[in-house]
Symmetry: C2
Subunit: 391 residues, 2 copies
């Protein structure tokens, strides 16, 4: 099988939102279309895009990764009728030195996503089914657990606005929601904490006081002191998880926090390779019986690398069920269903059109079913397909 | 003070060489020119480029970092007549999330270098002198220790060719040289080790058997078994250092190796932020009395970030004398002299025109003097200036 065409574009992710770290109004995403011909008359076009939080990569794609992929040569056919994207991945990484897993991991991830979409289409299988067959002994989940990530800071948004937003998510079928905290830069810690506690308590009231239905997300902004102060204040709420309290690379401080904060922690969306993920596992003091790992396959060199991460996790005693990827995209949703992850993020109101599910598929009690169409399923997500089909 | 113009270009680094990891024939470098006006009639243009081993960043520069730098606004004047590049650095990193310190660290490093060059020119000082005044209490070294990095693999290059190359470096005034090892992919370990031992012994003979005059460099290719096998075989040579035996992010394995290999280890050229460097220090088991840290300021967000790294090192009991940056460029040479590092890499025969010193300045007993001209000194390095002046 051979790649016969690679096209790329850049689209804005217009969102008047901010988390504790960045504002998203200037965010962009790369989109690519990769056509593969089987040599026996079959042909499929796979699509890929990058997940939110990191930028489009038109430069790196043009300068390094598309030219190398064009030179990748024969893609090895798989007995399911598709092909194995691994050698193409290796070709893309030719002449890249070790270390420095940042923007290039996004560029490679975009192309990797398109390769898996094309492979599944050539196999005539939904990606979740292809993954289940190839890597999970045919096991898969009938539905994926999803939660509604939101609760961003908007200018003029108050506690009532936050509660209204969460109410909408419940109305859409989500039973677990996530809100941002720690996003009041410059405010003294004590004051910021009191403000966030009033926001948390208002949402908890909406959730009948059930902390297991609420996640809070700091987006990496705290140091140890703030992380411990917030931790002590929220410890008794029994929250689902306390997300990215610290810089993602500050493993030692994670380990200290985990000694003092008993309920679940979640992190990993800003670690972009198996080696970085392994350092979190080795040095971060996280607990395989409760903590959540949010590595986003789209931002971190795609599924070829994510499979290595899952293998590494198993070797360290972590179940794939502890993984709930960042990003809210259908790619991770297929991986979650096919490989038995713990679920997937979802953004009901932001990052359109990349987040979300196949059109018309309902969320029921925070679970969503996967469509039975070949590939990742972009063609049955109307708003996203409207963007991709022009490539 | 204000930035009034930013220009960029891309130039090839043509080199028919390879190390254990990549071949350099397709390597490129970004070059930039940043003009700053003082507001009182003074004006200077600073130049920057990226160090070898990572690619030019025209995409990231155009898409994100140059536009943000253009919007940086007023640069705060410094009493020495220059300005402080820190707020401009912060402006460049606006809306960048934590983690993922890869290609963007190169793009920011290129612009940071140009800002420091412009600041020193406006101050009428060589950069080493400006750094000495601002950050080192006026102390500086009269000369910098340098060593000749080479010994790459070329098609058809044999042991005699390697010894001839090293002989040329000695003739140029270097007393310490570095050669690549571990670069025979696919060869069984035992055979590769025997081949490399014969190469090492031939060079040691040229150096009168003095191991302290020879460094060996694996470029991150080994796993623990190969690193230990080589380590056991070379331990008694008393080599100056054993460089990058392992993947730069595999801290735990570094710690194991350091328990078994007594002489100095060196690593760090593929870690691109203070936080990554701190993880090496925290988890890598390196020894502050002997090991060498090779973080390259040009590849890792520039000098603003490198100053944070030096502070972190001091807090962990490491002297700046343990730092010998990768890259062989005049920027690191100024930093080494002005801030009292252990020295700097040098590439007498490769990576032209970016490596090397001011034209006509001799290397004497592996030390080199800095020219007394404002800025980094690009204008008195003829081959490099021929490239930069057209920007």
């Amino acid at each position: 099988m051979k790649i016969t065409s690679i096209r790329q574009g850049v689209v804005p992710i217009m969102s008047a939102i901010a988390n504790a770290y960045i504002d998203f109004s200037k965010m962009t995403a790369s989109v690519v279309a990769v056509t593969v011909e089987s040599g026996d008359g079959r042909k499929a076009t796979g699509y890929g895009f990058n997940s939110n939080g990191r930028y489009a990569q038109p430069g790196l794609l043009t300068e390094r990764f598309i030219p190398r992929l064009e030179e990748a040569g024969e893609l090895p056919a798989h007995e399911d009728g598709g092909f194995d994207p691994t050698p193409a991945w290796t070709a893309m990484m030719k002449n890249e030195k070790p270390g420095g897993h940042g923007d290039r991991s996004v560029a490679v991830g975009v192309l990797d996503m398109a390769l898996w979409d094309a492979a599944a289409k050539l196999a005539g299988l939904p990606l979740w089914k292809l993954l289940s067959n190839r890597f999970n002994g045919g096991r898969h989940d009938a539905t994926a657990w999803v939660y509604a990530a939101g609760g961003y800071y908007h200018p003029g948004k108050d506690v009532d606005g936050l509660v209204e937003e969460m109410k909408r998510y419940l109305g859409q079928g989500y039973s677990v929601v996530k809100m941002k905290i720690g996003g009041s830069p410059g405010m003294p810690l004590r004051e910021a904490l009191l403000l966030d506690l009033s926001r948390i308590e208002a949402v908890l009231k909406l959730l009948d006081g059930d902390g297991s239905r609420l996640c809070v997300d700091v987006n990496g902004r705290f140091g140890l002191h703030a992380a411990l102060s917030y931790g002590a204040a929220i410890q008794n709420f029994g929250l689902r998880w306390y997300e990215e309290p610290l810089d993602p690379l500050d493993y030692a401080t994670h380990a200290t926090l985990a000694e003092h904060y008993q309920p679940p922690l979640a992190t990993g969306e800003n670690l972009f390779s198996m080696l970085d993920a392994r350092n979190l596992i080795r040095h971060g003091g996280l607990r395989p019986d409760r903590d959540i790992l949010q590595f986003d396959p789209a931002l971190s060199y795609g599924l070829v690398e994510y499979l290595r991460t899952l293998t590494m996790l198993r070797e360290h005693g972590w179940s794939p069920r502890r993984c709930v990827p960042h990003g809210g995209h259908q790619f991770a949703l297929n991986i979650a269903t096919g490989l038995g992850l713990g679920g997937n993020e979802s953004y009901p109101e932001v990052f359109a059109p990349f987040g979300g599910f196949a059109s018309g598929v309902p969320v029921v009690d925070s679970r969503v079913a996967m469509p039975d169409v070949p590939g990742i399923g972009f063609e049955v997500k109307n708003d996203l397909w409207a963007v991709l089909k022009d490539l």
